[in-house]
Amino acid sequence: MGNRQEILLTGAGGQGLILASIILAHAAVNDNKNVVQTQSYGPEARGGASMAGVIIDIDTIEYPKVVNPTVLLCMNQASFNKYLPKLKRVGECIVIVDSTFVSGPFREEYKVQSYPITKVAKEKVGKEVVANMLALGVVNAAAGLLDRDIFRESIFELAPKGSGEINQKAFDIGYSLYEQGSGQDTNQSAQTPQ
């Protein structure tokens, strides 16, 4: 079971996390892994706290829901407040937050990595909507889930028509953001997403 990765992508409805989870799962299929993707379907998926889970394993996957995340992405403060305390593998789970919207508190034992994901998407790509792909870049760089090239191709395949390259660019920026290191942009004030 050492190969099993459980990834929880959380944030506000509209931040593109469900599409991100589908692309991640699609990429896992292309990378020859077994994968199951689930998502929240309630009204919260359309504005409140949106959540999508992806399980990637070499073994077959039975129970389809994420119970023990190995990677947690929080794209807004509400989801950070909701999902961080539920973590069972404190310190082992890779926690990545978008510092554009999440201001903490970052308690040491959780080893939270914060990156200004949406801010950088706006500044470097000119489009806030690609923040989800940028986040996938950070996640994949941090957790080494899948082959980077296969992931890039999968993004191109599933991105809305005509936006393949810009989404791939965002994914690559995610990698460089990770390489620059966590917490580079802490002086910035938290906002609530639209």
């Binding site: 799962a25 994968v35 379907y41 129970y63």
Partner: protein
Amino acid sequence: MPETKPVLMQGNEACAEGAISAGVRFYAGYPITPSTEVAERMAVRLPDIGGVFIQMEDEIASMAAVIGASIGGMRTLTATSGPGFSLKQENIGYAIMAEIPCVIVNVQRMGPSTGVPTAPSQGDVMQARWGTHGDHPVIVFSPASVYETYYLTVAAVNLSQKLRQPIILLLDEVIGHMREKVTIPKGSKLMVEKASDKVPADWKPYDDKGLTPLVPFGFGHYYHVTGLFHDQYGFPTGDPQQVERSLDRIHEKLEKYRDEVALTNYIGHKEPRVVIVTYGCTVRSARAVVKKAYWNNRQPVGLLSLQTLWPFPDKEVQEIAKKADVVIVPEMNMGQIIGEVERHVKGEAEVIPLNRYDGEMISPEQISDIMGRWLS
């Protein structure tokens, strides 16, 4: 062989794709969560391949449209969830009585009534069996994965044609909504031969001798279709002998093809002490437990998963219960299939319920807890 590249697919989408592979070219429905993706996929796919997609004014009309299209010679599908399934019941009874093939998908959600639209449940097991009135035969499949959804839909469409019997696919929200890696033969046609190709010269629509193929209207045979008890030619009758014969007729076809219809799958120990009997998404939790207990720890446990709920796989359950001390029946309802399990286990083993009805899946821990108590 056609190209078979693994793809990521949702359970509901796999249901639509399975139907199309098996030759379904007519869909009538009224969208409802959590079944909507079946309709969405059919709406995208059918017009391109010469099929018909109609969004009807409600579920009653959808069911009627499906019956009409079937008797016109099309392979048909409709999908709904609990509230809509309730509305379809009258016409399902009509299709059973008039022996009109069709496939009805019910992606179960938490009920009763409108319940919790997005929460999973397995509460429609008995409704699928007895939802429509009278002593009717029924076939109900319950898949436990995206791929199983695909192939059980293919099987349902074909068996429905062969037996002239409506078939119900009982999905649940978990299986309907989750996406999984599946390998589906691309561009495949998985159809048994057309029923009307092998019509004998002395064809009667409801032959006393037994199952006859359906000849669609417009193919050279005139006959009557009714929900009333009818004679060999379809005309209404109240003659006690014919009434009895007619009811036997629709039940006999299921008995005759029972082994083709009652599908189960067993994994685990050859001489298990504890057996789990379950279906639908609960199989996933049970399999996680049994894999660990048997494959890793060689404990005397097993899992009998029921792909077919009705007709109930009685022989399979009896056989395994004879070996076991305990049969655990986890269900996401207040206890429905367990009554049937008890009826066929006949005291050979202790039958233990495990019920959950808070709109969440039964977890592997819940199953291993109860299993552990009987193993120690």
